[in-house]
């Protein structure tokens, strides 16, 4: 197990290194000099050159790469060109919105998907199953940002139960949660549809396994068989999907923030793109990739922990 962990950590480090090179090279070849962009069209060349020195843009690329990576390892994500503020600080502020939003949505989607998937699989072909299958078909087809707009239309503009957007900050946690509720629901429902489908089909497969028949032959009722033998095995593929879905959730959160004018990472990155604040783009994408890779590792570890056959290796 320890050896497996070490191997996985080595792979993780290599992946991160490769990802950082990719991101750095992309940003490097990106046209447009941040310094001239910041100073405007009419800036004098010597002013631009001075700014380039100040931003460290006059250094050779290799040196800048290692300065960037070295900085990140120390938690220093560089200085925003536009705001002249540490990127790390900006990210930390914005993450206070994005991270709770993603987790809120994740929790909601699991809460919806588990019962739906179980009911559908155990009532296969009957009304309950058909309703779940129909609902998931629809849920998968709905773009979350459009669903978000419909939620705003109904719950904020018509019923006035929620505000249409914005974030009041965490000084009042309840109010903060309330303002994240519509975005979280919009994010969660399509995810829940996918999870419910996966759970349903994996549970149907598992319930056809030989060891389920053995359990029934021991005298367990259908319900006991489901809870003691079926569910654990069926949840493993769900876990995998949950890990894979994380990157979609992250991307979804970035888009949903646009709908609700939430000051999260998404807003930060889109502003940075329009202002050619490339150091922000660079560092935030690296953080997103880091998050995806780490979550995938955690999923795999959970997978191994759940299955004794894998644990042995």
């Amino acid at each position: 197990m320890a050896a497996y962990l070490i191997r996985r950590l080595v792979i993780l480090t290599l992946s991160l290194a490769a990802a950082s090179v990719v991101i750095f090279v992309v940003i490097e070849v990106a046209p447009g000099d941040p310094a001239s962009f910041m100073l405007g069209m009419n800036a004098r060349p010597d002013t631009v050159a001075a700014l380039r020195v100040e931003l460290g843009l006059d250094q050779p690329p290799l040196q800048r790469y290692f300065a960037w990576v070295g900085g990140m390892l120390r938690g220093d994500l560089g200085l925003s060109y536009t705001y002249r503020a540490p990127v790390a600080q900006m990210v930390a502020e914005r993450a206070q919105v994005s991270l709770p939003l993603a987790l809120y949505a994740l929790g909601l989607s699991v809460l919806i998907a588990l019962p739906a998937g179980i009911i559908a699989a155990t009532h296969r072909g009957r009304l309950a199953d058909l309703s779940v299958v129909g609902a998931t078909q629809l849920g998968i087809a709905v773009p979350n940002f459009w669903f978000a707009m419909l939620l705003v239309l109904l719950f904020a503009l018509k019923l006035r139960w929620f505000s249409a957007g914005g974030f009041p900050g965490w000084s009042d946690p309840l109010l903060a949660l309330k303002s994240l509720t519509l975005p979280a629901v919009a994010l969660a429902l399509p995810q829940a549809a996918i999870l419910a489908r996966v759970l349903r089909s994996s549970l149907i497969d598992i319930l056809a396994e030989d060891f389920i028949r053995t359990a029934r032959a021991k005298g367990l009722s259908r319900r006991q068989t489901l809870w003691r033998h079926g569910l654990r095995a069926a949840l493993i593929p769900v876990l995998t999907i949950l890990g894979l879905q994380f990157s979609f959730l992250l991307a979804g959160a970035i888009i949903i923030e646009q709908v609700f004018f939430l000051p999260g990472l998404g807003r930060l990155i889109f502003q940075a793109i329009t202002q050619r604040d490339l150091i922000v783009v660079e560092s935030v994408t690296m953080l997103l990739v880091f998050a995806v890779i780490v979550v995938n590792l955690l999923t795999d570890l959970a997978y191994v922990a759940a299955d004794p056959r894998l644990r042995a290796q």
Binding site: T214, A217, K218, G219, L220, H229, A306, R309
Partner: protein, 546 residues
């Protein structure tokens, strides 16, 4: 521990001593429009072993599942299945839950998949005890440990804390048996309990079941396709064909009388020896010398476990025109050796040459072909039979158009199929027909050496007999050299002149087939021969009044 459920079952046994333990009457079963069982009737007394035998698809397993109340949802059953006088068929699932595991235990065919891979074996056995309310947690675990020991799992080597994947097939089957007998049920159903196991393991498991039945006074319904197993273990026998029981009675009686032609046919097929012309051996054709095929050991931490030698210094020679058998249990390396001979495995040592040329080169490939075990996996399902059969032409200059069609037609006719079959898809053929097609494919380029890798193992006994006949006929007609690989000694006996016995990557004994059977030299060969269930050839049927 001994009181587990004893009071309950004891009472029943006393009060209903006269009635049969299991009394199935007029049992019919349909799934959709398909009639699976038709008017099945059988009885089983306490302490008795009744064998239900017949070929695959005859309805044996469905009879067992009906008794367990575990039929598929789509099935509808009529008739009655009485256990100690009470009809189980109309009982609701809840009532059956209480009886399954307590009054009826069941052992399944596939030990590899019958256990939950996520739970420890001790917990799985304890679950039977706990679900029927017999014991609390700690007591149940103690009980489970005793049950596992009783089925022959040494707690020092295989403690209850093991997971199923850490056990061999035979060990897993012992766990399944421990679960089935945990509550000392009155009836034990064993559905092909040893079919998936090696012959030596098979004998141990059957002996274990015999002993448990005797000790606990259970009745056992033993479902098996193997008449030799029936003859050695069953008190009575019921022969099943296409959903009906065609003959039933005391085992010895049924095997002697064989009133029904189907019983006769099954028995004949079990004894069938194909006619093999005497060999006319020539010079050496295939020569393998000190062949080693090893795999790097699994990575354990940062080190590697020692390498695994699947084939460990094997030398053998097959002369032109010779028919050689290679037997051994699963994992002995015979499949790896087969692939090595076909030139499909890289070797870590030694050489294999065909007529002086190393195998794996195009000229040698053309001169040998193979027939594989699985009639369902041997063909690309997307291609038609004509294309499948002509695949080996890839090696030769392929004939075009008309000559190609002629060659395909000839190959198909030779194996007893019709030339029109070339246009059909493989789905349309039964297992036996598929093996005929596989033989046609192997022979179409007229190879000199044909390797039959477990070529009849997946087939029912009557089909197997016919395919063995075909193989014997074709090898004789074309003067083929053949290597016949099997785990089943009785199969190899009829179609080979010489026999090799393989164990743990090495050839431990070789010699003329007849003398190896008559006087085995190596202890392992003796063990294999002893373990194989034997069916004494009964005297010819007495002529009865017409």
């Amino acid at each position: 521990m001994d009181t587990s459920g004893g009071k309950h079952t004891g009472q029943n046994r006393d009060s209903l001593a006269a009635a049969p333990l299991l009394d199935i009457a007029a049992l019919s079963l349909r799934i959709g429009s398909k009639q699976i069982l038709d008017n099945v009737a059988l009885t089983l007394d306490p302490g008795e072993i009744l064998a239900l035998t017949g070929e695959s698809g005859s309805g044996k397993s469905m009879t067992a599942l009906a008794t367990m109340g575990l039929l598929p949802d789509a099935a509808t059953a009529t008739g009655s299945i009485a256990l100690s006088g009470q009809d189980l068929l109309p009982l609701p699932d809840r009532a059956m839950n209480a009886r399954r595991g307590r009054d009826i235990g069941m052992v399944f065919q596939e030990p590899m998949t019958a256990l939950n891979p996520f739970h420890r074996i001790g917990d799985q056995v304890a679950e039977t005890l706990r679900i029927h309310g017999a014991m609390r947690r700690a007591a149940a675990h103690h009980g489970a440990a005793q049950l596992l020991a009783r089925t022959g799992l040494d707690p020092a080597r295989i403690p209850p804390s093991r997971y199923p994947h850490e056990l061999s097939g035979g060990q897993r089957q012992r766990v399944v048996i421990a679960m089935a007998i945990a509550m000392r049920p009155k009836l034990l159903i064993a559905d092909e309990p040893t079919t998936a196991l090696d012959v030596t393991t098979q004998a141990q498991i059957l002996d274990l079941l015999d002993r448990l039945v005797k000790d606990d006074g259970m009745g056992m319904l033993l479902i098996t396709h193997d008449l030799a197993v029936v003859a050695q273990h069953a008190d009575r026998i019921a022969v099943m064909k296409e959903g009906t029981i065609v003959e039933t009675g005391a085992t010895a009686e049924v095997l002697r009388q064989r009133c029904h032609p189907y019983t006769q046919a099954l028995l004949d097929a079990s004894f069938h020896r194909p006619h093999l012309a005497p060999p006319v051996p020539g010079g050496p054709l295939l020569v393998a010398r000190d062949v080693v095929r090893s795999y790097p050991g699994r990575r354990v931490g940062l080190r590697r476990a020692p390498e695994i030698r699947a084939v460990d210094g094997v030398s053998l020679t097959i002369a032109k025109g010779e028919r050689v058998g290679l037997v051994g249990e699963s994992g002995c390396g015979k499949s790896t050796l087969t692939r090595a001979i076909l030139g499909l495995e890289p070797l870590q040592g030694g050489t294999i040459v065909l007529d002086g040329q190393p195998v794996g080169t195009p000229p040698t490939r053309r001169r040998m072909q193979a027939v594989f075990q699985d009639p369902y996996g041997s063909f690309n399902p997307r291609h038609r039979v004509g294309r499948l059969v002509s695949e080996p032409f890839h090696l030769a200059a392929p004939p075009q158009d008309a000559p190609l069609q002629d060659a395909i037609a000839r190959a198909l006719t030779e194996v007893g199929l019709s030339p029109e079959d070339a246009r059909r898809h493989i789905h349309a053929f039964s297992g036996g027909q598929r093996q005929r097609i596989a033989i046609a494919r192997a022979l179409i380029i007229r190879p000199e050496l044909v390797i039959f890798d477990e070529a009849v193992s997946a087939l029912d006994v009557r089909v197997r007999a016919r395919i063995l006949d075909l193989i014997a006929e074709l090898t004789t007609r074309h003067g083929l050299t053949s290597l016949f690989i099997s785990h089943d000694l009785s199969v190899v006996r009829g179609v080979t002149d010489r026999l090799l016995v393989m164990k743990a990557g090495k050839i431990v004994e070789q010699g003329p087939t007849a003398s190896v059977f008559a006087a085995p030299q190596h202890w392992y060969t003796k063990l294999l021969l002893d373990a194989a269930p034997r069916l004494a050839r009964p005297p010819p049927r007495q002529v009865r009044d017409a």
